[in-house]
Amino acid sequence: MAELTDLTVAEAAAKIAAGEISAEEYGAAWRAAAAADELNAYLWTAEHAESLEPDWNGDGESAPAGEGEATPYGSNAPAPAESGPLAGVPIAIKDIFTTQGIPTTAGSRILEGYRPPYTATAVRKLTAAGAHVLGKTNMDEFAMGSSNENSGYGPVLNPWDRGRVPGGSSGGSAAAVAGGLAPAALGTDTGGSIRQPASLCGIVGLKPTYGAISRFGMIAFASSLDQCGPFTRDVTDAALLLGVMQGMDQLDSTSVGIEGGIELPTREDLAGLRFGVPRELGEATLDAGVRAVFEATVARIEELGGQIVEITLPHAEHGISAYYVLAPAEASSNLARFDGVRYGLREAGDADLVEMYETTRSVGFGPEVKRRIMLGTYALSSGYYDAYYGQAQKVRTRIAQDFDAAFADVDFVITPTSPSVAFELGAKTDDPLAMYMNDFFTVPMSLAGIPAIALPAGLAAPEDGGDGAPRLPVGFQIAAPAFAEQKLLEAAHALEGALGFEAAAGDAIPWKGGARHA
């Protein structure tokens, strides 16, 4: 019999519901897999749960179960429901989501030991559908990074090649799913933090439309851009998780939900659908191997009956510039709350107030977070506001208008997900701008607020690897108009079937045991 951990989430949930496999055995198999983490993908796993309970507030007290019942926070404790579409399925949660009583750090030392008093809406929806919290995954500090090397708790290793990064900021979630340490995971995407690590780890990553899923309980980085979404092995599982999590939430006034909900996709052809390829792609900097996989995937789309159309996104090339003004500006405001008063670290508590603030923040934040707070504060400071922040907001308008114009002619816009395959640990840590360019293809969709999915499309040899370096996964990105997730998932499902990535990659796939031990 195939291993329990070989099943997709949809397959396992169906077998559990039909009584063909035991939820207990399935859960135990995944807890054992998560406990054997050698990738530093997890910061906390359910294996630690028993030792956790008596020390919720440091005074030997346990988390106040049920205290939240009558509050707007709903039923707080992430206790799984007995039945539901995800009954018995364990899911890894990026450590940026609050989980009542379970340590939540957002990858930062400033939140070490923090036990949130409430659970994020997205997580509560999963547990209300029967899912279990399998563990909390490592990430770039406050979701700022594209390699997971900015975590306060050490980098995550790419399961395809442990000398390389998994991407970021949701690197732990991506590595957990790709490495066979979780059947699915939650991540967040502000400028590419789901799609880029999904691409570098060879799995599916979906960033829904801004507003599709509640942000309540997601520790804020850039509030106008942050959106949560799933990491899965296939498109069907991504649809399953999105369907459970989407919806308007009165605890997030920017949440909207997806009208009509989400059905599991079934489509197997692309007849009648038009796919726009940005003309600007021709001049974009990207690896030859990535370009080759992109072109092969475009050919597959045509074989499936899809039509390829040239479009133009003239302002997309300015996406990185606009993003690295807007996101740090919002972050500099959001991260003001980490001041040593209400939670987390406090340093120099015996000094005066300002010295306590400054010392706490200087000790608690890592270099990238400081860099972005500085950048954002500068962009918002007197004399520079219009030139940087105001101008970046206008570029954002232009980028959204470019997409609107494109979608008047095509159903989808397609690009590579990342300009390269996974790069070596340390390769870009000394050059922030080089690191930021990883987000070149993912940032425009974030600025426009539209949904986009990253699919594993093939393998390419790394340009920084020597002779005989193993080939690494290459992602393909499909973007759709706002709230067109169902259509996006149907197209992605059809393309996924034709690409047959799992069969093509074969034993090299780490969750099948192919991880290279560096």
Binding site: W56, N57, E61, P64, E67, T71, P72, Y114, P117, Y118, G211, S224, S253, T254, V256, H318, I320, S321, A322, Y324, V325, S332, D339, G340, V341, Y343, G344, L345, R346, G349, D350, A351, D352, L353, V354, E355, M356, E358, K370, R371, I373, M374, L375, T377, Y378, S381, A387, Y388, Q391, A392, Q393, K394, V395, R396, T397, P432, L433, Y436, G449, A482
Partner: protein
């Protein structure tokens, strides 16, 4: 482009204390990033509406019904220095600069 004085000024605004090495590094890094970002300053965007948010919602209001707030003991459970049902902070007296 960004000099030492500007770095120190912004750090004060952001309530960050940087050591000498960090000031040097950040001045160089911010200059490099801003040099790239400066390309958008030259774009002619006269008359373009700025986008602060992509979801166009107005007046999202909930029903005017009282909710039970988080119990004080729970709100204080993570505080570095809870005191008598409140968050204790150091004296702001010396904040005269």
């Amino acid at each position: 482009m960004i000099d030492r004085e500007q770095v120190l000024h912004v750090a004060r605004l952001a309530r960050l204390r940087l050591d000498e090495a960090e000031v040097e590094t950040i001045a160089g890094e911010l200059s490099g990033i801003l040099e790239h970002v400066d390309r958008i300053r030259g774009l002619d965007l006269e008359g373009v509406e700025p986008t602060s948010h992509v979801v166009h919602l107005e007046n999202v209001l909930r029903a005017d019904q009282p909710w039970q707030s988080m119990p004080p003991a729970v709100a204080l459970a993570n505080a570095p220095e809870p005191f008598d049902g409140a968050f204790r902070v150091p004296s702001p007296q010396a904040d005269a600069d």
